[in-house]
């Protein structure tokens, strides 16, 4: 499956991944991040049931230092 994650192409991802599956694939802890799928925020409660489609655009963010 092909996804665009944080502006970068990822061509080699397993088919039928959920958001939870994608985070597990990369090793990112769910509680420290937030996910946007095709410009809509995905609620944490929906990570497991949100199945990603080919060519979805995802943003995965966290908090860093800022003023």
């Amino acid at each position: 499956m092909h996804l665009i994650i944080n502006g970068e192409d990822h061509d080699d991802l397993p088919e039928g991944l959920s958001v939870a599956g994608l985070l597990a694939h990369f090793g990112w802890p769910e509680r420290k991040i937030a996910v946007e799928r095709n410009r809509e925020v995905v609620p944490k409660s929906a990570y497991a049931k949100t199945v990603l489609a080919n060519h979805d655009q995802l943003e995965i963010i966290h908090f860093i230092g800022g003023g």
């Binding site: 925020v41 944490k44 995965i60």
Partner: protein
């Protein structure tokens, strides 16, 4: 709880100092500075994760969101749509809806007030409590209040400049023009300037570079803590009138011969 809390959008805080989390040597130094500052709110930025490095140090591991209030900012956003999008993600990441709106221009990072006002309206409509970084124009600050700002945060001087309180008259005019809390945000260089802003009647201070960029950030954090308390106390106590003549402090009677 303090007898003189800072109340923003119904939330009560003992400390009137907010510190940033940018520019520290590392997150541990940031956490130590937070401890020394006594602050209960930190500003934070929202950025993409580095997908390939899930084990990198993370802010939330050092400054615990259950122990300090995160105030997500919109640094890097140039339009209202960008700001709303960024803060919706921040809200999902942490569950907070108290946020700092900053829509900057490319003119010395000065706030773009027209874009700030339109962004504020979008965020308020989306249910956010918005603390707004802005210029020290009292008329525009009133417009921000009318649009639902939870706090007005005029700059003391350009971001990161350390020039201090360049226009105390305008800061005072802003304080008089609005009813919501006024916090001086950006441009302070040292503790006495924070005290001076508080003596004008400001409700709080945000400091980042002044603390993080000091030779000893922990000590400067402590200095700001004391300065904000001192300035607030002095404001509440009420300063004496300025006189153009001397008035003796010691009685002139009962002198020895």
């Amino acid at each position: 709880m303090s007898a003189d809390p800072l109340v923003i959008a119904g939330r009560r805080f003992n400390s009137r100092l907010i510190i940033g989390t940018g520019k520290f040597a590392d997150y541990q130094q940031n956490a130590d500075a937070l401890d020394a500052s006594g602050a209960e709110i930190v500003t934070v930025a929202v950025r993409r994760v580095n997908l390939s490095n899930p084990d990198e140090p993370m802010l939330v591991d050092y400054l615990k969101p259950d122990q300090v209030t995160y105030l997500p900012n919109t640094a890097g956003c140039y339009t209202g749509q960008d700001a709303v999008r960024t803060l919706r993600l921040a809200r999902e990441a942490g569950g907070w809806n108290l946020v700092k709106l900053e829509v900057l221009s490319d003119v010395h990072l000065y706030p773009d007030m027209a874009e700030t006002l339109s962004s504020l309206k979008l965020l308020v409509a989306d249910g956010f409590d918005v603390m707004v970084y802005c210029t020290d124009d009292p008329v525009y600050c009133q417009k921000l209040q009318d649009a639902g700002a939870a706090a007005i945060m005029p700059l003391a001087a350009p971001i990161g400049s350390g020039l201090g309180l360049l226009n105390p008259t305008n800061i005072q005019l802003v304080r008089q023009a609005v009813n919501v809390p006024v916090l001086v945000d950006a441009g302070l260089g040292t503790a006495s300037e924070a005290a001076a802003a508080m003596e004008l009647g400001c409700d709080g201070i945000i400091a980042n570079t002044a603390i993080a960029g000091a030779k000893d950030p922990i000590r400067m954090a402590r200095a700001f803590r004391h300065a904000v308390i001192a300035g607030r106390e002095a404001f509440l106590a009420g300063r004496i009138e300025r006189k153009a003549y001397a008035v003796a402090s010691s009685p002139m009677t009962g002198l020895i011969d």
